[in-house]
């Protein structure tokens, strides 16, 4: 059994689908933060069989967790302060996703315009459908892809 020490202030992202932690690491731009991050892959889980866990030691306000809702809203977000879990955040689908997914429509202006942000808007919350802000091409959230 691998032991990783607790964190004083930050987040523990639990119940990440096995294999998804590195994507989340990049999408949350953790590589750009100067903080301690533990990536635990394929941890045993009663509920999921195996799962990934991310532990991030950073000020609470440093992370934009909206994107997690898009990737997988079943992830548990534990907010840690003074070595204690102070909050379990509920994840929602974000209204807008910026520069996380790319429009695949070759006729879309995003395919040629210099440094244009890739923006997707939530157009159908029930069916988790996002559409490109520019060409309205559909993109389903990764879990339902």
């Amino acid at each position: 059994m691998l032991n990783i020490s607790g964190i004083h202030e930050g987040f523990v992202l639990d119940h990440i689908q096995a294999g998804m932690s590195l994507r989340i690491y990049h999408d949350l731009k953790l590589d750009e933060l100067d903080c301690t991050v533990a990536i635990i892959k394929n941890a045993r889980s009663e509920k999921m069989g195996k799962k990934d866990i991310l532990k991030v030691e950073c000020p609470i306000e440093a992370l934009d967790l909206d994107i997690l809702g898009f990737i997988d809203h079943n992830i548990t977000v534990n907010v840690i302060k003074d070595d204690m879990i102070v909050e379990k955040k509920e994840l929602h689908l974000p209204r807008q996703i910026k520069n996380v997914i790319v429009c695949k429509n070759p006729r879309c202006i995003t395919s040629i315009e210099q440094e244009l942000d890739q923006i997707f808007l939530l157009t159908d919350e029930k069916r988790e459908i996002y559409r490109c802000k520019y060409c309205e091409e559909k993109f389903r959230s990764p879990k339902r892809k």
């Binding site: 429509n105 879309c108 202006i109 315009e113 520019y134 060409c135």
Partner: protein
């Protein structure tokens, strides 16, 4: 400052005001002859579209304004690799309003985000062509008196025809609308229109393959072109093509006050023998296209004429 990207950018009330203004322009053209004196319209057409561009230019000239622009990407700075964002920033220094056509979907929206002047989407790929929809709505309202309580037949290529999709989206906002969707199996309306728009909003519609079968019920017949290259095989094309050619004999099955609309250009889907029928409204539709663009330019420039 407002732009026009999609026909649904205007509420029903705003649309009514726009169409009222277009009708007033039609009735009193002299009143508006100098409304845009000193103003310039830039027509930025990255792909050729003679009719739409000339319609915009005629609209601005009728308002006493001037026009400048380009009519293909080859003759613009796009050929040198300039982005849409940069182009519109420069055009903003030259003109007061811009009509943009671009083969890439969403290009006018990108322009509107950086523009200092109102931008009108004059067609972006297969995505939106809002001034065509405004033209269709003005034609129907002017010639029928209202936009509700109509049975509208949409005939031809319902799968790829963006004008048809836009028109459906615009008309479902009015009461008593019923659609008859007439197309070959291969070119039926896409499911996202059938389910997400028609069924989801409880709009009655029927789908059929033969134009003759629909004619008697229709108040409006909106024709579009069935292109040979859309068919999977030649046999189906030959079998079906005549179903979608409007002739005098098919017109004989229609109501006396039915209207025939077409976004033009017509290739062969309406026989020229129908042109003299008083119910053929497609050339009047092109005239309404100028009036509605005049009303749009005035509205976006926030110019009022007493």
């Amino acid at each position: 400052m407002r732009h026009l990207m999609s026909p649904l950018d205007f509420s029903v009330e705003e649309l009514d005001a726009l169409l009222d203004l277009a009708n007033d322009i039609e009735a009193h053209p002299q009143k508006y002859a100098h409304a845009c004196a000193g103003k310039k319209l830039a027509t930025c057409f990255y792909e050729p579209s003679t009719r739409t561009r000339l319609s915009f230019e005629a609209a601005m000239l009728n308002l006493g304004g001037s026009v400048l622009g380009f009519s293909s990407a080859d003759s613009s700075s796009a050929a040198k690799g300039e982005s849409v964002s940069d182009t519109i920033r420069v055009i903003s220094c030259y003109a007061d309003i811009c009509a943009m056509r671009h083969p890439k979907e969403g290009a006018p929206l990108v322009a509107s985000q950086k523009s200092l002047i109102p931008v009108i989407n004059a067609g972006d790929g297969g995505h939106q062509h809002p001034t065509q929809t405004l033209t269709d709505l003005l034609t129907i309202r002017s010639l029928r008196g209202e936009l509700g309580n109509l049975t509208i037949g949409l005939c031809g290529d319902l799968k790829f025809g963006r004008t048809v999709h836009s028109l459906i989206n615009a008309l479902i906002r009015y009461p008593g609308i019923r659609f008859v969707l007439i197309s070959p199996e291969e070119l039926r309306i896409p499911s996202y229109i059938r389910e997400d728009v028609l069924t989801a909003n409880g709009i009655p519609f029927t789908e059929m393959e033969r134009l003759e079968d629909a004619m008697a019920d229709l108040d409006i017949l909106y024709m579009t072109r069935v292109q040979r290259e859309r068919f999977f095989n030649e046999e189906d094309y030959v079998r079906l093509k005549d179903f979608y050619i409007l002739t005098k004999s098919k017109m004989a099955l229609a109501k006396k006050d039915m209207l025939v609309l077409h976004p033009l250009p017509r290739v062969n889907e309406i026989s020229v023998e129908v042109d003299d029928d008083p119910r053929a409204a497609y050339f009047r539709q092109a005239q309404y296209g100028v009036y509605v663009r005049m009303a749009l330019i005035l509205t976006l420039l926030e110019i009022t004429v007493d």
